[in-house]
């Protein structure tokens, strides 16, 4: 047991243990920590770095596309950069960002546990991620990669670039993802505190649970198929090589069997975040808890049956295209259930307009827009002309990137007081959330139009009449980058000298707001026994500081 310490500050009378930031200050105490909160912080540092690197790649791409011909990089560099952008953003930022970062930090607290089920495995998962990241970044430095993040054969088995190292990197990052998912599944099954039944878990935990199932079941298929690409390339196995009797389309099937569910690995955690945010800032319970919880599982399930919609132009029969199209549209049903439930949760709530809530609005807008274009793309007759145009680029950036990025930023602001114990500046939060959302919109909205007008993706040059929309898109990207830089700036300032937040600055009822900010190393002095659920807004005064109804065992 950690001995009792006197309260650190009068504002926080609950503090009896030192918080996890101050519990050991050496580098070793971080690098060898088994504390899920510190591992979460290290993951967050890693994914933020990846966001920065991937974002710089994106800006270079957008700058090149300012003019119809060569602006400052050539076609080879362009091919490599869009590949690097995709690989870094998908494997190093979006997949681990919310589950491994915020999930690690908050899932144990939200279910009343001291840690995840297997803390050492959790730390191992972080180092495996770092190892994979080093392999991938080494690929970019050694010879680059120009296959696109999809590694389509036969190009990936013949390209001059460093494919073999990259596929090993992807495999290693995948192992990290599997270990994280496994840990969460076991944690959620076996470590819920008394009173935290399945239907009294915060909705974020449901989303992470659904995500973990996908991570555990889909990632090995990707791992295997990219290793087979490596075998084709290095050992000339020819599994996907037409000259040796192989079929490249089979690679696409295996690849998308993972990579379509993978977009739900990215978006489901963001949906979990906005479920928390919308309830906390409207001070209303979700209008239907079960609708949100079960639709997460529904998306996870149906996501395994939709991969074919990436392959309508790869020689798929009309019947298959129709079947995959209809199955894909089921995702829209589950997603619409969520969007309507979130929106209805606002109704007659006591709404506090804060940065996380603004990101919720941004999320909803981008998600609905992207989702509707997704339903259109699931229709083969529409997909075939739009395929490999900027329309598809705009679609998946709206729904997947827009969803994950705004969800990530909502989480960052929502849980910032809990993680750091400090408040950020709402004024700057308002400015930056506007810049990010509008910047995002103006980056990708023109790309819908470009794609519809026929501009193909992955080209470094284009006919001159597409220029004005490309200029608009680049301008939008610059605004987005500015918004992210400002966010980084004021959050850093807030860590250093923001005012103290106290345990529950938002007046939320959810479990994580019942422990001190920042939480002590073991989260709870004694294991909690919560009588009131995470969305219990129907009693007393829901104002700030009133959320602690924790009952000691």
């Amino acid at each position: 047991m950690i001995p009792d310490h006197p309260a650190a500050a009068p504002a926080e009378p609950v503090v009896h243990e030192i918080d996890f930031w101050r519990d050991g200050r050496t580098v070793g105490s971080w690098l060898l920590t088994k504390d899920h909160k510190r591992i979460g912080i290290m993951f967050l540092a890693g994914v933020t770095l990846a966001l920065l690197v991937g974002g710089v790649f994106a800006l270079i791409l957008r700058l090149e596309l300012l003019t119809p011909d060569r602006t400052f990089i050539g076609p080879n560099a362009f091919n490599q950069l869009f590949t690097h952008h995709g690989v870094v953003m998908i494997f190093l930022f979006m997949i681990p960002a919310i589950p491994a970062g915020f999930g690690n930090f908050f899932v144990p607290i939200m279910i009343g546990a001291r840690d995840v089920a297997f803390p050492r495995l959790n730390l191992a998962s972080f180092y495996v991620y770092v190892a994979g990241a080093i392999l991938l970044l080494a690929t970019l430095l050694i010879g680059g990669l120009d296959t696109g993040w999809t590694f389509y054969t036969p190009y990936s088995t013949t390209s001059y670039s460093t494919v073999a190292l990259a596929v090993v990197g992807v495999f290693v990052v995948g192992v990290s993802s599997i270990l994280t998912g496994l840990n969460f599944i076991v944690t959620i099954h076996t470590l819920r505190a008394e009173g935290v039944t399945w239907h009294r878990m915060p909705l974020f935990v449901w989303a992470i649970y659904a995500t973990s199932i996908i991570q555990v079941l889909a990632t090995p298929v990707l791992g295997m198929s990219v290793l087979l690409v490596g075998a084709d390339r290095v050992l000339h196995w020819g599994l996907f090589e037409p000259a040796l009797g192989g079929d490249p389309v089979l690679f696409q099937h295996l690849f998308w069997f993972y990579s379509h569910p993978a977009v739900y690995i990215m978006i489901l955690p963001a949906m979990g975040v906005v479920s928390e945010v919308v309830s906390s800032f409207s001070h209303n319970p979700p209008i239907s808890y079960r609708a949100i919880a079960y639709s997460s599982l529904g998306i996870a399930f149906i996501g395994f049956l939709t991969w074919g919609h990436h392959m309508f132009v790869s020689g798929m029969s009309v019947f298959d295209a129709g079947a995959f199209g209809i199955l894909s549209m089921f995702v829209a049903i589950f997603s619409a259930v969520k969007v309507f439930t979130w929106t209805a949760t606002l109704y007659r709530g006591r709404i506090a307009v804060t940065t996380p809530l603004l990101y919720f609005f941004g999320f909803t807008f981008l998600f609905v827009f992207g989702g509707m274009s997704g339903v259109a793309l699931a229709t083969a007759s529409l997909d075939i002309p739009w395929h490999d145009t900027y329309f598809v680029v705009a679609h998946f950036h709206f729904i997947m990137v827009g969803g994950t990025l705004t969800g990530f930023l909502a989480a960052l602001h929502y849980w910032f007081p809990k993680v750091t114990g400090r408040m950020y500046s709402e004024r700057w939060g308002l400015v930056s959330s506007m810049l990010v959302t509008l910047g995002f919109f103006f980056t990708f909205m023109p790309q819908f139009l470009l794609g519809n007008a026929g501009m193909p993706r992955r080209y470094w040059s284009y006919p001159a009449h597409y220029q004005w929309m490309n200029v608009l898109s680049t301008a939008g990207a610059s605004v987005l980058a500015l918004g992210l830089l400002i966010t980084f700036g004021y959050l850093t300032a807030a860590v250093l000298r923001g005012r103290r937040a106290g345990p529950n600055p938002w007046g939320s009822r959810s479990y994580e707001w019942r422990v001190p900010s920042p939480p002590p190393t073991h989260n709870f002095e004694t294991l909690p026994r919560w009588r009131k659920g995470p969305y219990d807004y129907h009693y007393g005064n829901g104002g700030a500081g009133n959320g602690d109804d924790r009952q000691h065992a």
Binding site: L182, H189, T190, V216, P220, A231, G238, L244, H253, L254
Partner: protein, 219 residues
């Protein structure tokens, strides 16, 4: 699960450093963790099974001929070897649970011996194949079975049995650790969990082979 277990547990040899407050709760989590892991492993093999299904649909007759070229007695004997080895693991679990560590060590030794027998037979088979020019991918040079169909069959054969053999080797290391644990009485009647979950892994190795056997030897 994680209730307020303040009841003193029997002194645990490993202690309970993690988040669990009772040995049964921790053991339950270990079991669940291994089952989830095995589910993930199954999907790793599933990618190869899916490829097999795809190419079999295209090269049905060639796959049939090529499968019959494989020595059925080696494949079948290996199936028997693995099933018996799985029995010995299960038997060891039973012996440890009922407090008989000495025969359990022998039972695990038998498992290891059978696992090594499996790998020996497999090596023999690979050697045969290589001598006949049956090598994976572009290196394939068998004149009796020419063409892309048999080549694809044998490439998949190497991928699937190779991945399986890696799992056999990993499983043997796991079982060897279990053997040491039982010998030193760290795994005992009160704490059989590690052996149980190690045994589960070995059963996975066994079950995967039971699916490989008909696909690669019998059809």
């Amino acid at each position: 699960m994680a209730t307020t277990a303040s009841t003193p547990e029997p002194a645990a040899p490993h202690g309970l450093a993690g988040p669990y407050h009772s040995v049964p709760a921790r053991d339950n989590a270990l079991h669940l963790g291994v089952w989830v892991f095995l589910g993930s492993e199954t999907l790793l093999f599933a990618a190869l099974f899916a490829l097999y299904a795809g190419y079999r649909a295209g090269y049905g007759a060639d796959f049939h001929t090529a499968a019959h070229h494989n020595e059925m007695w080696i494949g079948s004997l290996n199936t028997l070897v693995l099933i018996v080895s799985s029995f010995f693991v299960a038997w060891a679990v039973h012996l440890v649970r009922t407090g008989r560590p000495r025969p359990a060590v022998w039972s695990l030794a038998a498992t290891i011996l059978l696992g090594l027998t499996f790998l020996g037979l497999k090596t023999l088979e690979y050697t045969h194949h290589f001598a006949e020019g049956i090598k994976p991918g572009a290196a394939y040079a068998n004149e009796a079975l020419p063409g892309p169909g048999p080549r694809m069959f044998f490439t998949l054969y190497y991928a699937m049995t190779g991945l399986h053999a890696l799992h056999v080797i990993a499983g043997l290391i796991v079982i060897a650790c279990m053997l040491i644990g039982v010998r030193r009485l760290r795994i005992n009647a009160a704490r059989p969990t590690l052996l149980e979950i190690g045994g589960l892994y070995w059963h996975l190795v066994d079950i995967v082979w039971i699916f490989l056997w008909p696909l690669l030897y019998l059809t």
